[in-house]
């Protein structure tokens, strides 16, 4: 589904991302982990054509993202609060995204009904603007908005941060279901090793912009990751 080839991003001679080759097949739940500055958000921004690659390219379903906009209809993302429109209510925001993705109000309402649990009664019908919601609730709205319109590729940057424990657990179930039952390719990044190993079939570790590990998740994965990040791994 997503092919990365010879990709690099350089700011003022400093290379922040360098990926020779990375293929993510359709329907995979893919996790990206790494310390701050490892290049996770840079990779997602390149995938969404928000920044320009210095070399190489990313193909999303055979469409090279920085040349054509045709990947947009089947790709959605929630990277940070700048994906929210602060002066809309959550409902208006969902309907707006719905219209952009060719879904009418009824479609959107049907989708939202599935997430009643996830919203925990704090999002819908509040008569508040998104900008007046707490950070955690903003995040919930943003994540659900990214699910509107049956996208085939969903990109979530740090989805677990700022969420309360109950919501984290619910979100994990949502992500698992998307990948397993609906064949959606889900890309997430996280600092929380436990969550990532729980959710993702495959985990790639970035370090200073380069891939240093590419693991198929198993029972041993969490231990291996912990060893890697605590620096006790035998070299």
């Amino acid at each position: 589904m997503i092919q990365t080839s010879n990709l690099s991003k350089t700011y003022n001679k400093k290379t922040v991302l360098k990926i020779e080759e990375l293929d993510i097949p359709k329907g995979q739940s893919f996790g990206l982990v790494g310390n701050n500055g490892a290049g996770k958000t840079t990779y997602f921004s390149l995938l969404l054509d928000l920044i320009n690659p210095s070399t190489g390219f990313i193909k999303n379903n055979e469409i090279q993202v920085n040349l054509s906009e045709d990947w947009k209809p089947f790709t959605s993302a929630f990277i940070d609060e700048s994906f929210l429109i602060g002066y809309l209510t959550p409902e208006e925001y969902f309907y707006f995204i719905g219209e952009l993705r060719g879904r009418n109000k009824a479609d959107v309402d049907a989708l939202l009904a599935q997430f009643e649990d996830f919203f925990h009664g704090e999002i819908l019908g509040q008569k508040k603007y998104l900008r007046d919601l707490s950070k955690g609730n903003q995040k919930k709205a943003g994540i659900v908005a990214a699910l509107i319109g049956d996208p085939e590729v969903i990109i979530l940057d740090e989805p677990f941060a700022n969420l309360d424990p109950t919501t984290q657990i619910r979100l994990k179930n949502i992500i698992k279901e998307l990948a397993e039952k609906r064949g959606v390719t889900v890309l997430i990044s996280s600092h929380d090793l436990l969550h990532v190993t729980d959710v993702c079939e495959r985990i790639v570790v970035l370090e200073k912009g380069e891939i240093v590990k590419d693991l198929v998740t198993s029972d041993a994965t969490l231990k291996e990751l912990e060893a890697h990040f605590s620096g006790t791994e035998s070299a």
Partner: protein, 494 residues
């Protein structure tokens, strides 16, 4: 311990490290030229005032005449300050938890405001006028006291303005308080209910004669300073800026926009944007002022003799919304620009909805301006031509200019000291939009006649409308070219 030098250091970095500065050198040069122009004008006025007054009114004392009209100058000054001078913005949030006294932050911000260019400008007239007085054998000490009094009054105006701004910033109609205040004072004086101009004139003359009265002015200055201090210190708490009134939202349906098809979601978004954010709302209220602007010209018989001005007024009256809203495209959407860029939309649709909004505003404003026909059919003709020009040429120019927009707009306005955020720069961008048609219209009028002038404006507008598709494609390309730059600039905080 936090020192003033720390503040200055922060400001310096904020200014020069923002992407806005690096990209708008040309604009800064223009601002400097404008400043030089004003300085020169004031200087000439200061030097020439004395001899002119002496010649026109040989049996009166020029100083007394000047003191008599100071009232009007101060009223004008208050108006000008309200629209052009903003309290210096500083990001205070990070400072609140550091060991810095709140009073120090407030004193610094207020102190910095006195260094504004607008406070130095009057000196360019006051000092040369004072020198002329001394040359003409006025007592040295008294003249110096007079100059000092002028400086103190300037500072009083400076702080008074911030008090007015802080009160009007919370209200829906931000312009109303200042207009009521200035208009009311002017009316009181004009209809001789209270002769304020005589009072202020006598007061300043009294200070001139009796330096001891300076104390009164100084006390007023201290009073307005302390009042400002009090207001700002209250605002320096996180919750006062964070707990923004979470008023119940009334959800508008805006179903009528559906007839715009593809554009409907964007039109709805834009309408909500305008209505739900303080800053954009005030640009909508400018429409009312713009509409009434014609009244400043048309009832006056002098202007009836110079119909070339009609074209200019027409551009202004029908284009006020287009100019005040359009010049911030696409910065209005800067807060969620990444979303728009990664969503399933085409740039062209997005721009087209902005175009439609502006074109509609021009049509609506033209219709609303029809009553001006009372002052002559020529006005209606000129407004019609101007409306066509606005739709055909100016909207495209404004959209094109937006491709070079690199300055983020903070819609939520939560920075503690940020009142309206519309500064001098905004008006500068309007100049080519208004002066160019004025030049065309005036030029044609000079070599031919009024009707031809209207025809030329209208034809230019129609040409623009005919080439709309082509122009939009060209403009869209420009936006695509600068896409990455805009995303990164809108991601910056200042």
């Amino acid at each position: 311990m936090m020192k003033i030098s720390h503040f200055l250091n922060l400001e310096w970095k904020q200014f020069f490290r923002s992407s806005h500065w690096q990209k708008s050198v040309a604009l800064n040069i223009l601002l400097i030229l404008l400043a030089l122009y004003f300085m020169a004008s004031f200087l000439v006025m200061g030097v020439a005032l004395y001899p002119i007054l002496k010649e026109q009114f040989p049996d009166q004392n020029p100083l007394i005449i000047v003191n008599g009209v100071l009232f009007y100058w101060w009223l004008a000054e208050l108006m000008i300050r309200f629209f052009f001078q903003k309290l210096p913005v500083m990001s205070v949030k990070p400072l609140l938890t550091l060991p810095v006294k709140r009073s120090k932050v407030v004193n610094y911000v207020l102190g910095k405001s006195t260094l504004s260019f607008i406070n130095f400008l009057p000196l360019f007239a006051v000092i040369p006028f004072g020198v002329m007085l001394i040359i003409n054998d006025y007592p040295l000490v008294s003249v110096l006291v007079w100059i000092l009094a002028m400086i103190i009054m300037t500072l009083i105006m400076n702080f008074l303005n911030f008090i007015i701004e802080s009160f009007s910033s919370d209200s829906e109609l931000a312009f109303l308080p200042i207009i009521v205040l200035v208009g009311g004072l002017f009316a009181l004086n004009y209809f001789d209910i209270v002769s304020l101009s005589k009072f202020t004139g006598n007061a300043i003359t009294a200070v001139y004669n009796q330096p001891i009265y300076l104390i009164v002015l100084i006390l007023i200055l201290v009073g307005v300073y302390l009042f400002n201090f009090k207001i700002l210190k209250q605002k320096l708490y996180l919750d006062s800026s964070l707990k923004s009134k979470v008023a119940e939202v009334n959800v508008a349906d805006l179903g009528w926009t559906k007839r715009f098809g593809d554009l409907a979601p964007f039109m709805q978004l834009d309408l909500k944007l305008i209505w739900r954010n303080k800053r954009s709302k005030s640009s909508a209220f400018l429409m009312i002022i713009g509409l009434l602007y014609g009244l400043a010209f048309y009832p006056n018989p002098t202007y009836q003799e110079m119909p070339w001005i009609f074209g200019f007024v027409g551009i202004f009256v029908t284009g006020i919304f287009m100019i005040s809203f359009g010049q911030f495209i696409p910065a209005w959407d800067s807060a969620y620009y990444k979303l728009l860029m990664s969503q399933n939309i085409k740039y062209e649709q997005y721009l087209k909805s902005k175009f439609t909004l502006m074109a509609m505003s021009v049509i609506i404003l033209f219709v609303l301006s029809i009553p001006y026909v009372y002052f002559g059919w020529k006005i209606l003709l000129a407004h019609f031509a101007a409306a066509l020009y606005n739709i055909g040429i100016n909207t495209h120019v404004v959209l094109f200019g937006g491709a070079f927009n690199r300055k983020k707009i903070d819609l939520s306005q939560r920075a503690a000291f940020n009142y309206q955020g519309t500064g001098a720069v905004q008006w500068l961008i309007g100049i080519p939009l208004m002066l160019l048609p004025l030049a065309i219209f005036g030029g044609v009028y000079a070599i031919s006649n009024f009707e031809t002038g209207c025809a030329v404006l209208a034809i230019l507008g129609i040409i623009g409308i005919l080439f709309h598709q082509k122009l939009m494609r060209f403009i869209t390309e420009k936006y695509l070219e600068s896409k990455y730059k805009m995303i990164s600039a809108f991601g910056q905080d200042s």
